[in-house]
Symmetry: C2
Amino acid sequence: MQDRINAFVPGTSVRIEGKPGGPLSGLSFAAKDLFDVAGHPTGGGNHDWAKNYRVPTAHAWTVQALLDAGATLIGKTITDEVSLGIFGESAYDGTPLNSAAPDRVPGGSSSGSAAAVAAGLCDTALGTDTGGSVRVPSSFCGLYGIRPTHGRVSVAGLMPQAPSSDTAGWFARDAATFARVSAVLLQEAIPEALPTKLLIATDAFGFADEALAAALRPMVERLSSLLGASEEVLMAPPGLSVWGRAQRVLQPYEAWQTFQPWLESANPRLAFTVARGLIAGSQVTQEERNWANLMRQEVRGRLRYLLPAGTILCLPTTPFPAPLRGRSVPDQQADRDRILCLCAHGGLAGMPQVNLPGSMVDGLPIGLSVLGGPGTDATLIAVAKAMEEKR
Amino acid sequence: MQDRINAFVPGTSVRIEGKPGGPLSGLSFAAKDLFDVAGHPTGGGNHDWAKNYRVPTAHAWTVQALLDAGATLIGKTITDEVSLGIFGESAYDGTPLNSAAPDRVPGGSSSGSAAAVAAGLCDTALGTDTGGSVRVPSSFCGLYGIRPTHGRVSVAGLMPQAPSSDTAGWFARDAATFARVSAVLLQEAIPEALPTKLLIATDAFGFADEALAAALRPMVERLSSLLGASEEVLMAPPGLSVWGRAQRVLQPYEAWQTFQPWLESANPRLAFTVARGLIAGSQVTQEERNWANLMRQEVRGRLRYLLPAGTILCLPTTPFPAPLRGRSVPDQQADRDRILCLCAHGGLAGMPQVNLPGSMVDGLPIGLSVLGGPGTDATLIAVAKAMEEKR
C-alpha cells in the first residue's frame, strides 16, 4: 500500500518510538524530509543536497517535541525539491498519491506528509509552509493543516528556504487529533472560547473559482453562526495579485540567498522549474525588494487592523481544487501564480492560518481557511474543533 | 584503466566492427553520446533526456561513415550535459581524465572523446563543436581536433544544440591518423599543397595569457617559415569580447529554442549552470538578437576579407591551459567567458579551424589554431601534417 501512496522518500527507513506515557501516546507521525532526524541524512528532495551536509546528530525541535510527547516517528516524507514547488510533483521521487483524488496532484511542497496522513499511514505529519506548502496540500487532500504564527514554532533543525517566511506546520485527518498535536507543538492548551466575529474576505472568494466559492458557502455560514457575528470585508485593497507579487519578489530572493553557496560550490542538479525559480531570485533588483518590503509592511498593517482580538477572517485556501497530475510546465504556471495570490499574506504577514476540510467541488476536496492575528494559533485550532463537532 | 580515465558513459557498452577493407581498417573510434548509434539510446549527458526520445534506429551520418570506412566503434563517450559546458565536468558522469594533466579538466563538451583519444583507448573520436567543444578539449588535452566548415560534415543523427553553430568534429593523437580520418569524413583527399600566407592574429595572442602566447611563438615561427609569408593582423577590430558577446546572445537563444519543448514537457533535472545558461537564452531580447545578427554578418565579412584562397590565420585556441578540476561556479565563470571570446568566431562565421598540439606551458598542453576560409578544411589538415613532419 505504501508503494502505491508513494509518501515516503524511496530508499529511506526510519522508525523512532515516542516516549511512553506522553499526551501523544499511541499516535504515529511522519516528517517531511526537510526536518532533521538524528542519524539520517536530510534529503530536502534533491539527490545532490545530502552530499554536501553532514548527517544530523540531533532531531529538529518539532520532531523531538513530538517524540517527547509520545508520538512515534514512522518515516520521512517526499517533498518538492528544496521546498520549491506547490503541486507536489517531484522530478526525483515522483508524485505522492492524493487519496481523495487519485488523478490529481497532492499539492506541495509538503506532498508526502499530506499523502501519508490522507492515506491513513500515520496520524499526523510535519510539513513546512513558506508560501503555502502546508495550506495548499491540506486543501487539495482534504486535511486539517496549520501554518503557525511566524516564529511561534521553532524551525531549529529545519532546512531553510526563505527564513522571513519559513514556518513548520502539521496535518491531521480529524480535529481531535489535530488539537492534541497542536497543543504539544504550540505548547499551549487549546481554549474552549471561540472568536466572536468572522470576517469574510470578499476579494479572496471572488478570486477563487465561482464553483469553489459556492461550495464553501455552507461552511462559511456554519462558521458565521458558530461565532455569532460576521462581516464582509476587502482583505487586500491593492489587489491579491499585488500581495502575490510582493511575496514573489521576497521569497525567491531569500531562497537565492539561502541556496547560492550550495549552487555555486556543488553545481547540483535541479528540476528545470526549480532552477528557474532560484535564478529568478538571483535577478531580483534592490528596487523591487524595496517595493516588496513596503508592501509587506502594508499587508501586516492591513491584517492587524482587520484582526483585533476576537476576530478571525475566512477565505478559500486555494482558488480551485487539486489540478490533474502530469501537466506541462506552462500549463502549471498560471495556476501556480493564482494559488500564490491566495497564500502570499502568510509569508508577508506571518499570521497563523488553519485549513478546514469538509467541502468538495466536483468530488474533489477544497478547504476553507481561518486566519487570525499573531499568536492566535490555539484559537484557530479551537475553531477547527468546534466546526467539526457542528458537522 | 578505462575506469580511471572515465571517458565512456557509465553503464553503456557499445562495440560495432567496421566494414572490412576500408581506408580506416584497423582504426578504432568512439562517439560522443550526442551521436546516434542504432539500438542504443542517445543520452546527451542528461539522465532525463533519453526517457523522452526513442532509441535511434539508424547511426548518425558520421558514425556510419567511419564504420563504412572500416573503423570500429568501441564506445559512447561522456559529454557535458546537452553539450552545454566548456570544462568537461559532468554533474552526472563525473570528469573524464586529462591524461596530459591529471589534475586539470579535459575541456568540454566533447570531454570523453578527447579523454579517450588522449589516453590511447581509441585512435579517433567524434565530438561536436558549437561554441568550442572540440577546439577547447583539443587544446587542453594536447590533441589534433577539427571544427569543420559549417554544413560541410553532416550533422544528421546528432542531438542539436544551436543549429546555426552546431558542427561535428573529431580528435586524433597524430597528424597521420587525423588526416586518414579527415579524408573520410570530409570526403576529400588531403592535398599536398599548403597555403602561401600566414596571418598572425595579434589581438588574439594579446588576449591570451602572456606565458601561453610566448610558448606558442616557436610554433608560429615554424608555421610561418613553412608557408613562406606571414603578416600580423587585427582579427576582430571591434574587440574579441564584442564577438564573444554576439555568440553569447545567439547560441543560448538557439539552445533555448531547441530545448524549450523538452524542458516544458518533462521538467528535467539539469545542473544549475546548465539551467542558468538555458534560462539566459530564454531571456534574450529581440533587440539583442538583432544586434548579434548584424555582428555575425560583420564577423563573416571580416574573416572572408582576411582569408582569401591561400591565406590562413593562426591564433591561440584557448587563452590559457586547462584549469584545475573541481573549482566553484563563480571561479569558472570568468574563465569560461574568456575562452568563449577566442572561440566565438567559429559559431559566428562557420569557418573551419584545426587545433595543432605540440606546445606546453608550465607542463600543460596548449594548442595553436589555424583558421581558413569556408571549405578549406582539407588544406588545414595538410598544414597539420606538414607541421608534424617538421617537428
